[in-house]
Symmetry: C2
Subunit: 135 residues, 2 copies
Protein backbone atom coordinates (compact mmCIF):
# COMPACT_ATOMS: atom_id res chain seq x y z
CA UNK A 1 0.00 0.00 0.00
CA UNK A 2 1.23 3.38 -0.92
CA UNK A 3 1.73 6.14 1.55
CA UNK A 4 -0.06 9.18 0.27
CA UNK A 5 1.62 12.45 1.04
CA UNK A 6 -0.89 14.95 2.33
CA UNK A 7 -1.64 17.53 -0.29
CA UNK A 8 -0.52 20.93 0.82
CA UNK A 9 -3.14 23.63 0.73
CA UNK A 10 -2.19 27.06 -0.48
CA UNK A 11 -4.20 30.14 0.26
CA UNK A 12 -4.25 33.19 -1.85
CA UNK A 13 -1.97 36.01 -0.91
CA UNK A 14 -1.62 39.31 -2.64
CA UNK A 15 2.08 39.39 -1.86
CA UNK A 16 2.67 36.08 -3.60
CA UNK A 17 0.57 37.04 -6.60
CA UNK A 18 2.53 40.23 -7.08
CA UNK A 19 5.86 38.50 -6.41
CA UNK A 20 5.17 36.09 -9.24
CA UNK A 21 4.07 38.91 -11.50
CA UNK A 22 7.30 40.79 -10.86
CA UNK A 23 9.40 37.69 -11.36
CA UNK A 24 7.61 36.98 -14.63
CA UNK A 25 8.07 40.52 -15.84
CA UNK A 26 11.84 40.55 -15.60
CA UNK A 27 14.51 38.80 -17.57
CA UNK A 28 17.20 39.62 -15.08
CA UNK A 29 17.14 36.40 -13.00
CA UNK A 30 16.92 38.46 -9.83
CA UNK A 31 18.01 37.73 -6.29
CA UNK A 32 15.60 37.49 -3.37
CA UNK A 33 16.81 40.84 -2.17
CA UNK A 34 16.12 42.52 -5.51
CA UNK A 35 12.62 41.09 -5.52
CA UNK A 36 12.16 42.30 -1.97
CA UNK A 37 13.09 45.83 -2.97
CA UNK A 38 10.65 45.84 -5.88
CA UNK A 39 7.83 44.30 -3.89
CA UNK A 40 8.39 46.59 -0.94
CA UNK A 41 7.32 49.49 -3.15
CA UNK A 42 3.86 47.96 -3.17
CA UNK A 43 3.91 46.61 0.40
CA UNK A 44 5.87 49.03 2.57
CA UNK A 45 5.79 46.66 5.55
CA UNK A 46 6.96 43.70 3.54
CA UNK A 47 9.47 41.45 5.21
CA UNK A 48 12.26 39.57 3.53
CA UNK A 49 11.08 36.37 5.16
CA UNK A 50 7.84 36.66 3.22
CA UNK A 51 9.75 36.85 -0.03
CA UNK A 52 11.72 33.74 0.80
CA UNK A 53 8.65 31.86 1.98
CA UNK A 54 6.75 32.74 -1.14
CA UNK A 55 9.60 31.91 -3.46
CA UNK A 56 9.72 28.57 -1.76
CA UNK A 57 5.99 28.04 -2.34
CA UNK A 58 6.26 29.12 -5.97
CA UNK A 59 9.00 26.57 -6.45
CA UNK A 60 6.85 23.85 -4.88
CA UNK A 61 4.16 24.81 -7.34
CA UNK A 62 6.58 24.69 -10.22
CA UNK A 63 6.08 28.35 -11.02
CA UNK A 64 9.58 29.48 -10.15
CA UNK A 65 13.04 28.00 -10.27
CA UNK A 66 16.25 28.61 -8.44
CA UNK A 67 19.35 29.04 -10.57
CA UNK A 68 22.72 27.94 -9.23
CA UNK A 69 25.23 30.10 -10.96
CA UNK A 70 28.07 30.25 -8.53
CA UNK A 71 27.13 33.42 -6.74
CA UNK A 72 26.94 33.53 -2.99
CA UNK A 73 23.24 34.33 -3.22
CA UNK A 74 20.46 32.58 -5.07
CA UNK A 75 18.85 33.82 -8.24
CA UNK A 76 15.38 33.01 -9.45
CA UNK A 77 13.37 32.85 -12.63
CA UNK A 78 9.75 32.18 -13.56
CA UNK A 79 10.27 30.95 -17.09
CA UNK A 80 8.89 27.44 -17.41
CA UNK A 81 9.82 26.64 -20.99
CA UNK A 82 12.98 24.57 -21.40
CA UNK A 83 16.01 26.72 -21.90
CA UNK A 84 19.65 27.06 -21.00
CA UNK A 85 21.72 29.86 -19.57
CA UNK A 86 24.61 31.90 -20.80
CA UNK A 87 26.51 33.10 -17.76
CA UNK A 88 28.98 35.93 -18.10
CA UNK A 89 32.11 35.30 -16.06
CA UNK A 90 32.98 38.98 -15.98
CA UNK A 91 29.76 40.64 -14.81
CA UNK A 92 27.71 37.66 -13.65
CA UNK A 93 24.82 38.43 -15.96
CA UNK A 94 22.62 35.49 -16.92
CA UNK A 95 21.00 35.37 -20.33
CA UNK A 96 18.37 32.88 -21.41
CA UNK A 97 19.03 30.75 -24.41
CA UNK A 98 16.28 28.67 -25.94
CA UNK A 99 17.10 28.31 -29.59
CA UNK A 100 18.31 24.75 -29.25
CA UNK A 101 17.26 22.17 -26.72
CA UNK A 102 18.75 18.70 -26.40
CA UNK A 103 16.04 16.47 -24.96
CA UNK A 104 17.74 13.47 -26.53
CA UNK A 105 20.81 13.57 -24.34
CA UNK A 106 18.88 12.43 -21.28
CA UNK A 107 18.24 9.14 -23.04
CA UNK A 108 21.64 8.92 -24.60
CA UNK A 109 23.33 9.28 -21.23
CA UNK A 110 20.67 7.33 -19.37
CA UNK A 111 21.31 4.22 -21.41
CA UNK A 112 24.88 4.02 -20.20
CA UNK A 113 24.52 4.64 -16.48
CA UNK A 114 22.69 3.09 -13.58
CA UNK A 115 20.81 6.27 -12.79
CA UNK A 116 17.26 7.41 -13.60
CA UNK A 117 17.68 10.69 -15.41
CA UNK A 118 14.72 13.04 -15.30
CA UNK A 119 16.18 16.30 -16.49
CA UNK A 120 19.35 18.16 -17.16
CA UNK A 121 20.64 21.66 -17.10
CA UNK A 122 23.27 23.21 -19.29
CA UNK A 123 25.03 26.43 -18.53
CA UNK A 124 27.45 28.10 -20.89
CA UNK A 125 30.18 30.27 -19.44
CA UNK A 126 31.99 33.02 -21.23
CA UNK A 127 31.90 36.74 -21.91
CA UNK A 128 28.77 38.69 -22.80
CA UNK A 129 28.78 41.25 -25.59
CA UNK A 130 28.69 44.20 -23.19
CA UNK A 131 31.81 43.03 -21.40
CA UNK A 132 33.55 42.17 -24.65
CA UNK A 133 32.93 45.70 -25.92
CA UNK A 134 34.33 47.24 -22.76
CA UNK A 135 37.66 45.47 -22.97
Amino acid sequence: MQLKKKEKIYRYSRQRERLLAILRATESHPTASWLYDRLKEEFPNLSLGTVYRNLSILMEQGLAKKIDAGSTFDRFEAKTSPHYHLICKKCGKIIDFEKRFFPEINDEIGRSVDFDIESHRIDFFGTCSDCRTKS
Copy 2:
Protein backbone atom coordinates in the same frame (compact mmCIF):
# COMPACT_ATOMS: atom_id res chain seq x y z
CA MET B 1 49.03 49.91 -23.52
CA GLN B 2 47.92 46.94 -21.56
CA LEU B 3 47.59 46.93 -17.83
CA LYS B 4 49.40 43.92 -16.50
CA LYS B 5 47.81 42.35 -13.46
CA LYS B 6 50.38 41.67 -10.81
CA GLU B 7 51.12 38.00 -10.67
CA LYS B 8 50.12 36.53 -7.36
CA ILE B 9 52.83 34.70 -5.51
CA TYR B 10 52.01 31.47 -3.76
CA ARG B 11 54.14 29.92 -1.08
CA TYR B 12 54.25 26.31 -0.20
CA SER B 13 52.12 25.16 2.66
CA ARG B 14 51.83 21.67 4.03
CA GLN B 15 48.16 22.21 4.79
CA ARG B 16 47.39 23.09 1.20
CA GLU B 17 49.42 20.22 -0.18
CA ARG B 18 47.58 17.74 2.01
CA LEU B 19 44.22 19.38 1.30
CA LEU B 20 44.71 18.87 -2.41
CA ALA B 21 45.85 15.30 -1.84
CA ILE B 22 42.71 14.54 0.15
CA LEU B 23 40.48 16.21 -2.39
CA ARG B 24 42.12 14.24 -5.18
CA ALA B 25 41.75 10.98 -3.30
CA THR B 26 38.01 11.15 -2.93
CA GLU B 27 35.19 10.84 -5.41
CA SER B 28 32.61 12.18 -3.01
CA HIS B 29 32.64 15.86 -4.06
CA PRO B 30 33.05 16.87 -0.44
CA THR B 31 32.07 20.03 1.41
CA ALA B 32 34.58 22.36 3.04
CA SER B 33 33.51 21.02 6.38
CA TRP B 34 34.14 17.41 5.40
CA LEU B 35 37.60 18.35 4.15
CA TYR B 36 38.21 20.19 7.39
CA ASP B 37 37.38 17.10 9.42
CA ARG B 38 39.73 14.92 7.36
CA LEU B 39 42.55 17.43 7.39
CA LYS B 40 42.17 18.11 11.09
CA GLU B 41 43.27 14.54 11.73
CA GLU B 42 46.69 15.55 10.41
CA PHE B 43 46.69 19.11 11.77
CA PRO B 44 44.90 19.13 15.11
CA ASN B 45 44.97 22.92 15.33
CA LEU B 46 43.62 23.38 11.83
CA SER B 47 41.08 26.11 11.38
CA LEU B 48 38.18 26.12 8.98
CA GLY B 49 39.31 29.46 7.62
CA THR B 50 42.49 27.82 6.40
CA VAL B 51 40.48 25.26 4.48
CA TYR B 52 38.43 27.96 2.79
CA ARG B 53 41.47 30.08 2.03
CA ASN B 54 43.30 27.16 0.52
CA LEU B 55 40.33 25.97 -1.49
CA SER B 56 40.15 29.46 -2.86
CA ILE B 57 43.83 29.37 -3.83
CA LEU B 58 43.50 25.95 -5.40
CA MET B 59 40.65 27.26 -7.51
CA GLU B 60 42.73 30.24 -8.61
CA GLN B 61 45.39 27.76 -9.64
CA GLY B 62 42.87 25.68 -11.52
CA LEU B 63 43.49 22.66 -9.34
CA ALA B 64 40.06 22.55 -7.74
CA LYS B 65 36.56 23.44 -8.76
CA LYS B 66 33.43 24.42 -6.93
CA ILE B 67 30.29 22.57 -7.87
CA ASP B 68 26.94 24.35 -7.68
CA ALA B 69 24.43 21.64 -7.09
CA GLY B 70 21.69 23.41 -5.25
CA SER B 71 22.75 22.60 -1.73
CA THR B 72 23.11 25.32 0.83
CA PHE B 73 26.81 24.60 1.11
CA ASP B 74 29.49 24.35 -1.53
CA ARG B 75 31.02 21.16 -2.76
CA PHE B 76 34.42 20.76 -4.34
CA GLU B 77 36.32 18.47 -6.65
CA ALA B 78 39.86 18.20 -7.95
CA LYS B 79 39.19 16.31 -11.16
CA THR B 80 40.47 18.31 -14.09
CA SER B 81 39.38 16.11 -16.98
CA PRO B 82 36.14 17.18 -18.65
CA HIS B 83 33.14 15.46 -17.20
CA TYR B 84 29.56 15.96 -16.19
CA HIS B 85 27.61 15.25 -13.04
CA LEU B 86 24.72 13.04 -12.17
CA ILE B 87 22.98 14.59 -9.19
CA CYS B 88 20.55 12.53 -7.15
CA LYS B 89 17.51 14.56 -6.17
CA LYS B 90 16.73 12.22 -3.28
CA CYS B 91 20.04 11.97 -1.42
CA GLY B 92 22.07 14.76 -3.01
CA LYS B 93 24.87 12.45 -4.07
CA ILE B 94 26.97 13.60 -7.01
CA ILE B 95 28.44 11.07 -9.41
CA ASP B 96 30.96 11.84 -12.12
CA PHE B 97 30.11 10.96 -15.66
CA GLU B 98 32.75 11.11 -18.35
CA LYS B 99 31.76 8.58 -20.95
CA ARG B 100 30.48 11.20 -23.36
CA PHE B 101 31.58 14.77 -23.71
CA PHE B 102 30.03 17.29 -26.08
CA PRO B 103 32.75 19.79 -26.99
CA GLU B 104 30.88 20.59 -30.18
CA ILE B 105 27.94 22.24 -28.50
CA ASN B 106 29.98 25.26 -27.47
CA ASP B 107 30.48 26.04 -31.15
CA GLU B 108 26.98 25.09 -32.15
CA ILE B 109 25.49 27.46 -29.62
CA GLY B 110 28.19 30.06 -30.01
CA ARG B 111 27.38 30.56 -33.68
CA SER B 112 23.87 31.73 -32.86
CA VAL B 113 24.45 34.11 -29.98
CA ASP B 114 26.39 37.28 -29.36
CA PHE B 115 28.35 35.76 -26.52
CA ASP B 116 31.88 34.32 -26.34
CA ILE B 117 31.43 30.82 -25.01
CA GLU B 118 34.43 29.31 -23.30
CA SER B 119 32.99 26.32 -21.54
CA HIS B 120 29.83 24.66 -20.42
CA ARG B 121 28.61 22.46 -17.66
CA ILE B 122 25.93 19.84 -17.83
CA ASP B 123 24.26 18.34 -14.81
CA PHE B 124 21.79 15.50 -14.97
CA PHE B 125 19.16 15.25 -12.27
CA GLY B 126 17.35 12.11 -11.26
CA THR B 127 17.50 9.19 -8.88
CA CYS B 128 20.61 7.18 -8.13
CA SER B 129 20.54 3.40 -8.02
CA ASP B 130 20.80 3.28 -4.22
CA CYS B 131 17.75 5.48 -3.79
CA ARG B 132 15.83 3.60 -6.47
CA THR B 133 16.47 0.31 -4.66
CA LYS B 134 15.27 1.75 -1.37
CA SER B 135 11.88 2.82 -2.68
